[in-house]
């Protein structure tokens, strides 16, 4: 395992490289003269991330969003070569999101199970409206950090619930209930996994959009910058769309979607998600 410092460095570089890989050939020409850039590394003119993307076939699975889908992601830690130049993929955690559009209350429900590092678990259920942002209606989250101690363990389980009523959020968290004004749509990253449609709406909208970061520490206005696209000619035509999400309380997050608007990468400064599988069966897989 890399130490944290090396991991962060590699992850940051890889995140940015993954993003800029998608910005076009003119840029790739520009960086080809920079001896320190990823663009000159082995793996092709756009570097190893580009090579990865070009070889990436995407997960098989239904694109029919009217059915229950499960999206599985790897949390990626990037090991590098000894020069810290060529990132390689390694898994540090796993995320499974089940998307269910068949709920009786006409919500789309995202059921999430996430494991991070050693002993940090999160389970959440998010009910989203069928508006153009898939904005949140209510959610219920449980977090557990394993302590290995019988006396401490009960203290490290927390639960959080939230409900949106018009322009107000009612939050049950940190031992109390509070009401918070939220005049714009409230979104969560699980809804954003419905890639192209939601991100396009957000980028085109001037409305204030609030982001839930669970546990709900952050509820702040966000910016979404429109997509840029890149086509990879060759053995396989591949069009990549990228969106940049940032704003107060949110580090710039790069969403990178394939031509079918499935999220290939979600990169958030220190961490990257890579979509590895989609299933569509309507059955519980957890």
């Amino acid at each position: 395992m890399m130490n944290r410092r090396s991991f962060l460095i590699a992850s940051i570089e890889t995140s940015l490289a993954a993003y800029f890989t998608c910005l076009g050939k003119s840029w790739s020409q520009e960086i080809s003269h920079d001896p320190g850039s990823l663009g000159t590394m082995e793996g092709g003119p756009l570097g190893p991330v580009s090579a990865y993307l070009q070889e990436y076939r995407g997960p098989s699975g239904s694109l029919d969003s009217s059915k229950v889908q499960t999206l599985s992601f790897d949390w990626v830690q990037w090991k590098t070569n000894r020069h810290r130049q060529v990132p390689l993929q390694s898994v540090v955690g796993e995320l499974k999101v089940q998307r269910d559009p068949l709920q009786e209350d006409n919500h789309i429900v995202y059921t999430v199970r996430q494991t991070l590092g050693q002993g940090e678990h999160m389970e959440g259920v998010y009910h989203c409206l069928r508006d153009k942002w898939l904005s949140l209606a209510r959610w219920d989250i449980k977090v557990h950090l394993e302590s290995g101690s019988v006396s401490i363990d009960p203290m490290t389980r927390i639960q959080e619930k939230g409900t949106r009523e018009k322009d107000t959020l009612i939050l049950e968290r940190d031992g109390g209930t509070e009401r918070i004004a939220c005049p714009g749509p409230l979104i969560c990253r699980w809804g954003l996994l419905d890639g192209g449609r939601v991100l396009n709406s957000l980028a085109a909208s001037n409305a204030s959009v609030f982001l839930l970061k669970e546990p709900s520490g952050i509820l702040r206005n966000q910016h979404f910058f429109p997509a840029e696209t890149l086509s990879f000619p060759g053995a396989r035509e591949e069009t990549i769309s990228t969106f940049l999400q940032t704003g107060p309380g949110c580090l710039p997050t790069h969403w990178i979607l394939d031509e079918q608007h499935r999220p290939l990468f979600v990169t958030v400064f220190l961490l990257s998600l890579v979509l590895k599988e989609i299933t569509s069966s309507g059955k519980e897989i957890f």
Binding site: L23, R157, R173, D174, G176, G217, I218, R220
Partner: protein
């Protein structure tokens, strides 16, 4: 103010690498910190709080021993804490408190679980992440059921990790693309940044003015995220049954240069690295919405304050640490005329800060002097201006007077005097 009969609980929340003015309610328009704002509104902010040594490990060792770094031995990262010194966790634990820790500790050769009951949240470097640390602290405050008073330490990592941005992106073209995307949102470069001066930090290659602005943008975003986690801990305390009898402290180990003086990170005596936020809150016991911009405060004052409120004797040889309690209770104590910080990052050195001036004094005889009142960005060194020789000598005298009070570590006795 009401008196309590039961010993108070203590919640000590600290962040890593937060400069003193990265707070929206202190007038910084480039960052939104509603949670720290709320705590400041409900407590007292010390606006002239200084790190004991503006580097992670030394500053933390100052907090937990009440001693200067040339006493406890951690003058730089990775040097060991003097084994014979007790730390704050051990001290309060042996005197009837339950002492808990979650998050970043980062004191070399002193295992945190030998001083505290360790809650999940990592053993040293904040590897659990701030969100997990806040969850643990929140859960603790909701569910602690012990009969003894508690001393909960919550060590957040950020905004520290912004410094990794100096490693990446290395490509100027990469940086340029991000800058153009975010340009209208980027804060300006600090006023003491000189784009015409050679500027090459340790990592990340050349940085220009736009790069500095991007660095500041990322830094403030990280600040906002850790602000949210701080808010969770404070909210959990307010929702708990302990709130009325708990002293809450918030501070940072050291600041961040953010491009001031064409520098990043820490280890230097300039204001941006040396000064830190410090807020104390306790309903009915500590004045609300007060900003103390008069009294000079040091990181070593925190353990003195904590022990004072916990009604315990100070740890041994805390000779220069002062409790802030008399200030918070408006007892108008006589207060120090100067505060001293140490750093060995550029060779053994100490900074002496008076009400108006700050001198950087080094073992090699070099010295610098700044008039903080007229030159808050420390752009004009006055040390070689004869008009200020009296001020510089006064600082040298203060330095020597200060060091005489210390019980220097055996390995760091070589720098104890500067000639006037």
């Amino acid at each position: 103010m009401a008196k309590t009969t039961k010993r108070c609980n203590i919640v000590f929340v600290h962040v890593d690498q937060m400069t003193h003015d990265a707070v929206s309610s202190y007038g910084n328009p480039y960052v939104q910190t509603p949670n720290i704002d709320r705590i400041a509104n409900e407590g007292t902010s010390f606006m002239l709080a200084h790190s004991g040594n503006p580097v992670c490990c030394p500053a933390r060792a100052c907090w937990y021993t009440g001693r200067m770094s040339s006493e406890h031995g951690v003058v730089k990262n990775r040097l060991p804490l003097l084994e014979s010194l007790p730390d704050l966790g051990q001290w309060v634990r042996d005197r009837g408190y339950q002492a808990y820790y979650t998050g970043k500790w980062h004191i070399p050769y002193r295992r945190v679980d030998q001083s505290f009951i360790l809650l999940p949240g990592g053993r040293s470097y904040g590897e659990q992440g701030d969100s997990g640390v806040a969850s643990v602290a929140s859960g603790f405050l909701q569910q602690y059921s012990g009969n003894e008073p508690f001393f909960l330490n919550v060590g957040f990592l950020n905004p520290h990790d912004c410094c990794y941005l100096t490693f990446a992106p290395k490509s100027p073209a990469m940086k340029k693309q991000v800058i153009e995307k975010l340009r209208e949102h980027l804060p300006p470069a600090p006023k003491s940044f000189d784009p015409n001066r050679p500027f090459k930090p340790h990592e990340g290659g050349e940085w220009n003015e736009d790069g500095v602005r991007l660095y500041n943008y990322y830094y403030y975003r990280m600040m906002e995220m850790v602000d949210a986690e701080i808010g969770r801990v404070y909210r959990a305390l307010k929702n708990s049954r302990f709130f009325e009898n708990t002293l809450f402290l918030f501070t940072a180990d050291h600041g961040e240069m953010l491009g001031h003086q064409n520098q990043f990170k820490k280890g230097v005596f300039f204001e941006s690295a040396l000064r830190v936020p410090l807020v104390l809150a306790w309903p009915g016991r500590i004045p609300q919405n007060r900003k103390d911009d008069v009294h000079l405060v040091s990181g070593v004052d925190l353990p003195a304050t904590i022990l004072d409120y916990a009604e315990m004797d100070p740890m041994p040889d805390m000779s220069v640490a002062r409790s802030l309690r008399p200030l918070l209770e408006d007892k108008k104590p006589s207060w120090r005329e100067y505060v001293v910080a140490e750093s060995y990052s550029g060779g053994p050195g100490r900074a002496v800060r008076t009400e108006r001036y700050k001198a950087f004094l080094y073992q090699d005889g070099s010295s610098y002097l700044y008039d903080i009142k007229t030159d808050p960005f420390e752009k004009h060194d006055l040390a070689r201006d004869s008009a200020y020789s009296d001020e510089l000598n006064r600082c040298r005298h203060y330095h020597n007077e200060f060091v005489k009070q210390l019980k220097l570590h055996p390995d760091f006795q070589g720098f104890s005097h500067v000639p006037a």
